[in-house]
């Protein structure tokens, strides 16, 4: 039994964050394969060889009929059962931006009552009426079961989307909150939720929701891009931080970014799980 974590990053059909997602996952300690959607559909690569499946950012099929819609249809038609089995086997699924949009259209999120096929949440056009690239502050729900956000309280990441406003029936939102499935929320500079204020909340998302997980915490979707914070120089204020630290006789932290940490949490979860399995196996 391998102790490595194998991550699969989908590519093709207009997806475009696969390189940096693979790079950041690598920094997080995973072995990564970028796999074309058609290769997976044809069965030339098998999901069973992986423990982490990543739906990354991009404009799948041009996103002309709603972001992530056609990707979801395509995957449901051709891979639906294989993906459900992958989840049932206890593996991790991460959806970033277009990947998050795809997860909600597949019904993998929010996965209320273990139903992984019904669409009950949507990511729709930003209230500001346009695509927007900006860094946002995020506050993380410490009580969420999400395995990716362990030990992260707040972080900053870039958003880059035109359709990131999370919307759903009031009842659904309430259940997400009560189930602690709301993993992260857009926040102001003070770290408190943005309360709908633009641009801290960049898209008008209900309850400032930036990312949600399923009830198990193993499926996680978010609009911000952790893979785009893979190096300390990605941060918009790094030159200021560096200068500030210098004046205090310190060095700026050039080690692991919070973007990579988030991915590493997922990798570590799998490692712990497999060491448990190995232990069980020995016993």
């Amino acid at each position: 039994m391998s102790k490595r974590v194998n991550a699969l990053v989908l590519t093709g059909f207009g997806l475009n964050c696969d390189n940096e997602t693979a790079y950041a996952l690598n920094l997080a300690g995973a072995d990564v394969q970028r796999v074309h959607i058609n290769t997976l559909i044809k069965g030339e690569v098998h999901l069973k060889d992986f423990q982490l499946l990543v739906f990354g950012g991009g404009f799948s099929w041009g996103d002309d009929h709603g972001a992530g819609v056609i990707q979801a249809v395509r995957l449901k038609t051709n891979l639906g059962r294989r993906i459900l089995k992958f989840i049932a086997d206890g593996n991790l699924v991460l959806g970033i931006c277009n990947g998050f949009q795809t997860l909600v259209n597949l019904g993998l999120l929010p996965g209320l009552d273990g139903d992984y096929q019904t669409r009950s949440v949507a990511l729709t056009f930003n209230d500001c009426g346009n695509f927007r690239n900006d860094w946002v502050s995020l506050t993380v729900n410490q009580e969420s079961p999400c395995v990716f956000t362990h030990n992260i309280q707040t972080l900053e990441l870039p958003v880059r989307h035109g359709e990131g406003k999370l919307t759903a029936d009031e009842q659904v939102i309430k259940r997400l909150i009560n189930n602690r499935q709301v993993v992260m929320r857009y926040a102001g500079a003070d770290g408190e939720p943005a309360n709908g204020c633009f641009p801290s909340n960049p898209n008008g998302s209900l309850y400032d929701v930036a990312g949600i997980c399923d009830p198990t915490g193993r499926i996680f979707g978010l609009m911000p891009h952790p893979e785009a914070f893979n190096h300390f120089t990605n941060h918009p204020n790094w030159t200021r931080l560096k200068e500030k630290h210098k004046r205090q006789g310190r060095q700026i932290n050039t080690e692991e970014t919070l973007g990579v940490r988030l991915l590493k949490n997922g990798v570590d979860y799998i490692l712990k799980r497999s060491s448990k399995i190995i232990q069980n196996f020995k016993e």
Partner: protein
């Protein structure tokens, strides 16, 4: 029978698209609307069962959380409904992806006649009862906000005229060409006869070329060889091929022309034979000899330089002016997606890593009586959105750009697009920058299919804009199709399958196959193999069509199977359309019948060089002078008013809608500072993620100086671009340039172009300036393009037309390597107590400045570049950054010292206190001159006091001065005049407020 699915957001959800239209109607035309709701329409022209229709409706096209849909018209209330759909043959990207989704979901294949067409209808409700009678207002919204007649059709429905059963009916914009393709033979009896054919067919042949063309086809040997393949006089496809290749767009006849230049009315004629050879090629080749990092220049689709031992970067810049002036969105998206094919077609193929943009349009609030085809505001909106979708959907960060306004651009607005890529130094063991075709190689067309779109685009951009410009050359780029092709081609490249690759841009197959066949010295093309969007295209149309998203690739026959397998994996269409040969001939057949047979070397032989009279008139001869202005008293207001001028103020709204961080490589972003809202001098990316080397990019545009002297314009533009790169920490000796000239027509005509000789002289002088500065700064020109005919003929109030020429414009882009990205610096002040330095001398150079423009003056003292003196400072700045002595570095650009000190302060969100009396100046004592002169070669640097000694030591024998300090008092941006009196004291927040005043509300 077609089916029509209407989709809308649930009534209780806000409709961002409708709301956007409502606000635009209000802001642009003062039309008050109560509500706008959008209905998306899919017209499915395919034979589907009720069950199949229901499945695609629920499974694909209706989101149960947010949407409602129906195959009958949705009952949404309105006073007026505007339906908008594409004209037949216009690229409908969403329609194409709908087909893919339906096919996949139902497990069926559409036949050739089946398709999906998208359209929309907007349901408008007014604020008062009269609205339902005001057809004219709704027509204005439809025609001037929503639809462009060139690509779209629209209809209006009043609520009383609406049939709730029929709705908008079934509109199927299918192309039906009831036409049997045929090759025509063209008689060449006389020059006049051929000229007539050229005019009738829109060939845009230069009259001087006509005798050369006729004599070729009259040559006995040629006629004999042609007779052997069944040809006599030239065919239409041959003339189209010649016309494309000889167009100014492809052949750069202007830059390769012979100029008779006179520096003043009385001076001797100086003959400059070929501006390109003299001012661009020669200096660049000399620099290539000296600089081993220059890898490949002047022959390929883009230039290449070394990034590190294992990678090369490539860069090129283009303009897409004519199409963008006709259809702003379509022109711009086609422009950016098109320029992305250049790096992809450079060497054996480069991965795209960034894009840039430059827009020059009329003022956004233009209200003059002369009517441009599109109002500048609408044109700019469309251009911004076109580049947004083209860049974002390509997954390539759009990292840097500029937006300029000037009345003179209403004749022809300019759209610059730049692209850079990265490739491994070696591909499958051979040099990545080299490529050639060999006899026997297959000619493959990859990507999109061929339709009538884009026909005569090249020749149209070689003419001024007029009512006769064929609208057919406007198209809509498809980044989705191209992204698939990009991923596919990089995979086949890495497997070593590519012998040669180039893009299908201007001139289509005619250019790409014609040029690639020069390497093997021949090709044989079977035109019937080219996949078409619809039947009925003539052979010549297939050959020159500029349908987008296509590359031409040469591979060995034995690699076809693997190539084809990967092509299918990526869902990209690839077709073998012929073979390269060594016959010396371009040989085209259609169903085995020859329709073109022409010597490939014909184009490089015997055509007459274009000639231009170039007559310079000095600024003094033209009566320019320095205005007489006394020193202002209210500097607070003057400073904030200049900060709020359209060419100075914040344009954050453009930058934020461009994804500038995809690929995870961002180091220095376009917006920096404490509040992340100031324009960075340049951007830096980390294109190879596991390397700490960076690629820095920037550009400059200073067309206003051309009003005095285009030479100064060129020199200052290059200096600014270089200085911008230096400011972020780019290595001095690793900078390359890209020159993009946009010039009005320079061919003198006493009636049509009476100042043609002057404009020609301006071009000569700009090229001389380019040569001088690039040689002195040692900047090789990695790539460049020229776009002539930046003129428009626009109608005025009395149905008369006016020729409006754009200012002589050079966009200069610089790219360079940063040895260590962790040493990069931004422009924002960092810490209270830091010293504020100004490097360089300030001179009385207000000619063409923003300050003069504020008062309506031009002036005469245009800024001058002293490359030897400046470069010493630049090298020292480079050193200061490498030694980490500078907390912030910012160049002094448009607007001058006062404006850029304000930007440094706004960037840090910190106060500042400076004394103008300390600024090193050359015989300048007036505060307004010190504050607003645009003397090049200068920087503002803030330095930690503990580093100031070491910092100053680097500039020992150079002009510099410490003029004040950064303070913690954000309520006080303080400037003391040369005589010691306080002249500016204003809160930084007010500076920011003024700077954001014009466009701050736009998103």
């Amino acid at each position: 029978m077609p089916h029509r699915l209407e989709i809308a957001l649930k009534p209780d959800l806000s409709d961002a698209e409708g709301e956007n239209l409502r606000q635009k109607a209000q802001n642009y035309f003062g039309i008050e609307l109560a509500q706008v709701r959008t209905v998306h329409i899919l017209t499915i022209d395919a034979d589907l069962t009720a069950e199949q229709l229901s499945k695609v409706q629920t499974d694909i096209f209706t989101n149960p959380v947010t949407q409602i849909s129906s195959f009958a018209p949705l009952p949404i209330a309105f006073d007026w409904c505007i339906r908008i759909g594409y004209r037949p043959g216009v690229k409908d990207n969403a329609g194409d992806t709908a087909v893919e989704a339906i096919e996949d979901t139902l497990g069926i294949r559409f036949n050739d006649r089946e398709a999906v067409y998208t359209s929309k209808r907007y349901c408008l409700k007014g604020n008062h009862p009269n609205f339902s009678h005001d057809r004219a207002i709704v027509e204005k919204i439809a025609g001037e906000l929503l639809a462009n007649d060139i690509i779209q059709q629209w209809d209006l429905y009043s609520s009383s005229g609406w049939d709730s059963e029929i709705g908008v009916g079934f509109i199927v914009p299918k192309v039906i060409l009831d036409h049997k393709p045929a090759v025509l033979t063209v008689s060449t009896d006389s020059d006049a006869a051929l000229q007539k054919v050229s005019d009738e067919r829109n060939l845009a042949l230069n009259p001087k070329d006509i005798p050369t063309i006729r004599s070729y086809f009259a040559n006995d040997d040629v006629r004999q060889q042609r007779a052997a393949v069944g040809l006599s006089d030239p065919t239409d496809i041959e003339l189209e091929y010649i016309s494309q290749a000889r167009s100014d767009h492809c052949n750069h006849n202007t830059f390769q022309g012979r100029f008779f230049y006179r520096a003043s009315a009385n001076s001797q004629v100086e003959i400059i034979d070929n501006l390109f050879d003299t001012c661009i090629k020669k200096p660049t080749l000399e620099l290539k000899e000296q600089k081993d990092w220059v890898i490949s220049v002047l022959w390929d689709n883009a230039g290449a330089g070394r990034f590190d031992d294992n990678h090369y970067f490539v860069i090129t810049g283009e303009t897409h002016n004519s199409p963008s002036n006709m259809e702003a969105y379509g022109g711009a998206i086609t422009g950016i997606v098109g320029v992305y094919r250049d790096p992809l077609g450079t060497g054996k193929g480069a991965k795209l890593v960034m894009g840039g943009y430059g827009y020059c349009t009329g003022p956004r609030d233009y209200s003059g009586s002369i009517k441009p085809h599109l109002h500048p505001r609408r044109l700019l909106d469309g251009v911004i959105e076109g580049v947004r979708d083209g860049g974002n959907k390509s997954g390539i960060p759009t990292v840097f750009g500029q937006v300029l306004f000037d009345d003179a651009y209403i004749g022809k607005s300019l759209v610059f697009v730049t692209a850079a890529g990265i490739m491994p130094a070696e591909v499958a063991g051979s040099p990545a920058e080299k490529k050639r075709t060999s006899p026997g190689d297959l000619v493959i067309m990859c990507g999109g299919r061929v339709g009538k779109d884009g026909i005569h685009g090249v020749t149209a951009s070689s003419e001024s804009f007029s009512a006769d410009t064929p609208a057919g050359h406007v198209q809509i780029g498809d980044p989705y199709t191209q992204k698939k092709m990009h991923d596919f081609l990089l995979e086949v490249r890495d497997e070593g399958l590519i012998q040669f690759i180039t893009d299908n841009g201007g001139g289509g197959l005619s250019s790409s196959v014609g040029e690639s066949a020069l390497f093997s010295d021949g090709c044989a093309i079977q035109l019937e193999k080219v996949p078409l969007k619809y039947q009925g295209l003539d052979q010549w149309e297939i050959w020159i069509s500029e349908s987008q998203e296509r590359m031409t690739v040469a591979i060995k026959p034995e690699h076809w199977e693997r190539f084809h397998t990967l092509s299918e994996k990526h869902a990209v269409e690839s077709t073998v359309i012929g073979q390269y040969t060594d016959t010396g001939k371009l040989h085209i057949t259609y169903n085995d019948k020859t329709c073109a047979y022409i010597d490939l070397d014909f184009l490089s032989s015997g055509f007459p060089q274009w000639e231009f009279d170039a007559q310079w008139q000095t600024p003094a001869d033209r009566g320019l002078y320095e205005p007489v202005i006394s020193s202002p008293a209210n500097y607070n207001e003057l400073l904030t008013d200049i900060l709020a001028r359209p060419n100075v103020c914040s344009k954050e709204w453009v930058i934020r809608q461009y994804d500038h961080e995809v690929q995870g490589s961002s180091v220095i972003k376009p917006l920096v500072g404490a509040k992340r809202d100031m324009n960075s001098d340049a951007v830096v990316i980390r294109p190879v993620l596991d390397s700490e080397k960076g690629l820095a990019y920037t550009q400059a545009l200073l067309p206003w100086y051309s009003a005095i002297d285009a030479r100064s314009m060129a020199c200052c533009t290059i200096d600014e671009a270089v200085r911008r790169l230096i400011a972020v920490g780019t290595d001095w000796d690793r900078i390359g340039g890209v020159d993009n000239f946009c010039w009005p027509d320079i061919q003198y005509d006493s009636l049509a172009n009476p100042d043609g000789k002057f404009k020609a002289a301006q071009l000569v002088r700009a090229c001389m300036g380019l040569k001088e500065i690039c040689t002195a700064f040692q900047i090789p020109l990695l790539s460049g393009k020229d776009s002539m005919y930046a003129d428009g003929h626009l109608s005025g109030s009395y149905n008369e037309t006016h020729k409006i020429s754009a200012p002589e414009t050079l966009q200069f882009s610089c790219i360079g390597v940063v040895a260590n990205i962790t040493q990069c610096v931004t422009m924002d002040s960092k810490q209270t107590g830091d010293r504020v330095y100004v490097l360089g001398i300030t001179r009385n150079e207000l000619g063409g400045s923003e300050y003069y423009a504020h008062f309506g003056y031009t002036g005469m003292n245009v800024p001058e570049v002293y490359p030897e003196k400046f470069s010493r400072v630049y090298k020292a700045v480079n050193q200061a950054i490498r030694q980490e002595l500078a907390a912030s570095v910012h160049g002094i650009y448009r607007g001058g010292l006062g404006i850029h000190l304000a930007m440094t302060a706004m960037g840090g969100d910190l106060g500042m206190n400076v004394d103008l009396g300390k600024v090193t100046a050359d015989q300048v004592h007036h505060d307004d001159i010190i504050l607003f002169s645009e003397t090049p070669g200068r920087f503002i640097v803030t330095v930690d006091p503990v580093n100031s000694e070491a910092f100053e030591a680097l500039f020992n024998d150079m002009p510099y001065a410490c003029i004040g300090e950064v303070t913690g008092k954000t309520d006080h941006f303080i400037v003391n005049g040369a005589d010691g009196h306080l002249i500016v004291d204003i809160p930084v927040s007010e500076l920011r407020c003024a700077w954001k005043r014009p466009f701050g509300a736009l998103v």
